[in-house]
Symmetry: C2
Subunit: 634 residues, 2 copies
């Protein structure tokens, strides 16, 4: 099958899935009667049930249903994480400190006549892909060039992007008008807090910052002990320039973020052994660069070989693997891809994305990053409140301490307005950098020194800074913890789950294709249906009796008493992903049919609720149930 055919098949598959999802109200394009808003979707009733609906048994107040959010919470609670719930509206100062005000941008170009906005990289990407796919006579050189552009797309500066767009003669897709130069557009929804218009605020682009600013209280709450993790599940916002990829690239979404705070000198994890032997598809940086494919590696091996930076990061990668596959994600279409050096934030120690393959390609659904001490330091600097941890020594220790003393007068003369940035960069050096600088200054009298915040190197002379090591007695160690962050894009995982669960099969008479969502019983929005075979009072009474017994054991169900044919009723609920159907066709025993195998068994009316329950709870598989009951052929 050639690439074009494959692309077409994927489109057709996606169309079938999305059509079913929208028709059965898993999703609804938001504000549809007003022709919608790009990138905003509602969860309709079955979608809510998959995402966050906790069905309760009304008589006993026992929980009846497991769902997606609860499985995330399970993840959170298994580690005794501290849950917090912060507002979406966030004042500017917080997002200034985190870097979002300055750097959370995409490059945009405008149609010079109509003003319509486009993402610059999208246009360039589309152009290259289109040429590669549709121009058979492309020279090998040209093809290689375009492939190179695609490979480095994320690295291009505003100027480089603009030059390529001009160079290839790319115009606005809708009008063919010429385009402006690219310029950065901040992706946060901006607003104003209070009536004065003087307090800018934003809708949070991630939930993590709410945890970082609370570090001090949470550390105290945890008895001033490390490691500990805090977690937050909530809405986040991203004002996309032109949302594409339907349900995957949206302007408002639910994030679940975990911030695990550890001692930077000890990133071991006590439960690492529990996941170490798990083997799954990993795609390390080196393999990507050298053009190899993703390969199966045991996570224990990956940590031992230094492919994954540390045990804690490895532990969470393993846990995320278990979480996603238990949810129903196909393990062969799940891989952990390491960020390339250029993708990763400069402060990050290591970063892996759980990517799930769907009709849009490989999609980042969970990010697992070692963010080092960046966030806590940034908020310490901006707020003046020390966000640090303490390790008390049982006996005072003699330590060698690095002392960096910038000579402000000399630096001021040399760098004028940039002095502050240079001073900060000097003070921020770690021991290795500082000792290297010291050595160079002693040898040559001056040294090149890179200042990140100026985005250039400056020349430091030996009279501008003194660097030394001093011995001191210390009673405790004070340090900024590192943060390891698994961040779950809930909507994306759910969408991929829908794609991985969806299939079609011919109807009995073969004249149409029927849709099925093969959800695992644990995440199915409704666990079973009850169908009286024909409309008659006796059967309906049995159906009600079964319904009451299902309620008593906390199983969500749907009764369908319409006279529609059983085949049609099966088809309707297969499309909602209901795993079991109970057909009442006698007053003593009933037929239970499993969705995927379509196998049927006979079960006594009094036993049926407990059979459904053990299957829905994942205690038994269908195979377990099958051999215990007589099969039924219709």
């Amino acid at each position: 099958m050639d690439a074009a055919q494959e692309a077409q098949n994927r489109e057709a598959f996606r169309h079938a899935v999305v059509n079913t999802l929208e028709r059965r109200l898993f999703y609804i394009p938001s504000f549809k009667i007003y022709r919608g808003v790009a990138g905003l979707y509602d969860y309709g009733p079955p979608g809510c049930a998959v995402k966050s609906n906790n069905a309760l048994d009304s008589s006993t107040l026992n929980f009846a249903d497991v769902n997606f959010i609860s499985m995330v919470q399970h993840f959170v609670l298994e580690e005794n994480m501290l849950e917090v719930d912060c507002p979406c509206v966030t004042p500017e100062v917080v997002l200034k400190a985190s870097g979002h005000v300055d750097k959370f941008t995409d490059l945009m170009v405008k149609d010079e006549k109509t003003g319509t906005c486009y993402r610059a990289d999208h246009l360039l990407k589309d152009y290259c892909k289109d040429k590669l796919e549709k121009e058979p006579n492309l020279s090998a050189d040209k093809a290689a060039e375009l492939r190179h552009v695609l490979a480095v797309l994320d690295d291009l500066s505003s100027e480089e992007l603009g030059a390529k767009i001009k160079g290839y003669g790319i115009t606005a897709p809708d009008t063919k008008n010429s385009l402006s130069d690219p310029y950065p557009f901040n992706l946060m929804f901006q607003t104003s807090i209070g009536p004065s218009g003087l307090s800018p605020g934003y809708m949070r682009p991630e939930t993590a910052q709410g945890i970082f600013v609370n570090f001090k209280d949470l550390y105290y709450y945890n008895g001033n002990k490390l490691p500990f993790a805090a977690a937050q599940i909530g809405q986040a916002f991203r004002n996309e320039i032109s949302p594409r990829q339907g349900l995957l690239r949206v302007r408002e979404f639910t994030l679940a973020e975990i911030e695990h705070f550890v001692d930077p000198d000890d990133k071991s994890h006590p439960k690492f052994a529990e996941v170490a032997t798990l083997e799954f598809l990993m795609f390390p940086r080196e393999d990507q660069v050298s053009g190899r494919a993703a390969r199966r590696i045991a996570i224990g091996e990956a940590v031992a070989q230094g492919i994954v930076n540390n045990e804690t990061l490895g532990y969470f990668i393993g846990r995320v693997y278990l979480f996603l596959t238990q949810l129903g994600i196909d393990k062969d279409r799940l891989r952990f891809r390491q960020h390339l050096a250029n993708e990763m934030a400069h402060y990050a120690a290591d970063c892996w994305d759980a990517e799930i393959e769907c009709s849009y390609g490989w999609i980042e659904c969970v990010g697992i990053a070692d963010r080092s001490a960046y966030d806590l330091r940034a908020h310490t600097d901006k707020s003046g409140v020390l966000l640090v941890a303490h390790e008390k020594f049982t006996e005072p220790r003699e330590v060698e301490k690095l002392v960096i003393t910038p000579v402000k007068k000399e630096l001021g003369l040399a760098f004028k307005g940039s002095q502050k940035m240079v001073v900060e960069a000097l003070e921020a050096m770690d021991e290795k950098e500082a000792m290297e600088l010291k050595a160079t200054l002693e040898a040559k009298g001056e040294a090149e020194f890179r200042v990140c915040t100026l985005d250039k190197a400056v020349t430091i002379k030996s009279n501008m800074v003194s660097i030394s090591k001093e011995k001191k007695k210390e009673h405790q160690r004070v340090f900024t913890p590192s943060v390891i962050e698994p961040s779950f894009g809930i909507g994306r995982i759910i969408y991929c789950l829908y794609e991985h669960s969806f299939y079609t099969r011919p109807s009995r008479d073969g004249d149409e294709q029927l849709n099925v969502f093969g959800f695992p019983p644990l995440v199915a929005p409704i666990k079973c249906t009850v169908f009286p075979l024909v409309q008659n009072e006796q059967y309906e009474e049995v159906a009600r009796r079964i319904a009451r017994s299902l309620t008593a054991v906390g199983i969500t169900y749907k009764i369908d008493v319409t006279g529609t044919s059983i085949g049609k009723r099966y088809a309707r609920t297969d499309e909602l992903g209901v795993p079991l159907a109970i057909t009442v066709d006698s007053t003593s025993s009933v037929t239970v049919r499993e969705r995927d195998s379509k196998q049927q068994i006979r079960v006594n009316v009094d036993e049926v609720a407990s059979v459904v329950k053990e299957f829905a709870d994942g205690v038994s598989t269908w195979g377990d149930v099958l051999w215990r009951y007589p099969t039924h052929s219709s």
Copy 2:
């Protein structure tokens, strides 16, 4: 106790509650390290557990914990409501249709020198209250005048408010500078959707609109049948001018809204009998106007007497009463207050607030309103999509139909630019209004006619409109459903629950007051604690065994193995509202202590988890448990 003393006591009580809540991280002022933002609060770990934390037993994936949101969902699910989950970001057109863009405002005044903003009514209210409380020599006339101002405060127009503020010489509270005239400030957080700056949007002020715009799909999902209800739980936003009342008046909050759609001709409710005999404090409109106090009325009586407009409204009032009291709200500090005619939206048929008394006075926590067909009509008008229901007749019926035909030419000549509004108002007349207008036109040739959207009456002549009744055969009835809406302010209910649950008692040696949150077991964030009496390996092993057995039955617990005295450990967890404490003081049996009574019983190690479980689930009261086990005196 005089009023001043009482106010002081309330302040002191509130101070103690809020202090405990913040110290134990039930709440954290948001972005505290940046000195916070008025009106924004985080839920810390125990607050999250009360609000929405679903503890899961890690081994079996069974739910372990009931909490607030789950109880709301219980409410939702018991009625088979359709849950939806819509975005917070909302395009302007939706909120234009709902009336929020034009009318969701408060009147504001500005300090003329500093620009600081204040709510105009707050300043006037404070002035009046202050005078009444603190000026002993106030004349009876003056006092009566001020009391009258307080009574009609909500009714004052912008001009009237301005005149009073000027008349009383009220100045800016902080600077004593003079104040601007009042002007309306829209309380929605405004933003811009997409990069163009041409699509204004707002953070939703309520969740209800997301349901109304989806009516058509939800009606279809429900098999085109009425009545049905849809529900949504999510964040809502209100950009308060100057938030006061701490945790009660916030800028971002969780709302749970239910929209129950009914046939306007039949607002009976099949389950009304289940609540009809419930008797609780009601405060009908007439009693408020005539200065009587709230009184106990059975909800069945209230509906029968026409105090409450209809059964469905009455049913939800009853259900809300059950919900709040089961949660732990004191039934003697809960009342249902009917809106006065001037408080209610012009379209509402009836409206009742569940008000809970706390240190701030009586606080509206749940609103239960019959909004008639207003919202669906508004969105039908604006979107052009018919949001209606159908009732198919088994046989066609002959009906008399009102036909209103405005003569646009004549209306255009008479009203020019206002023609459209006049036409719409004429077409919107109900049968009674139309027939009255027809009669007047026939008698006098013209009639005064009020046009809401112009906010004035115009003169209609008989050549401007024809009104008639025509007979027609109809196969179905098409109508706009009425909406009955219970709307829960989750944060307010939780805050009131905290106040109603909080008390202090002297420590054993009597030298300090200890704080206790007496949460009902069902909503307590942690169900029990496990304390080894002394630090020793044997006891700690027993504690771990008990912990495992608690996990197995799905109970959240906290182990405290510090050597701190048992009294101090009790005090610490009483302050978190933990209902039961297990002290391990032998290897065969342990002491179980109940928080409020401080009574202690001896229970075998093997039995203790099941005892905790039956108590935590509300299956047994402490009294039930107490007589089955030997008491223990320490």
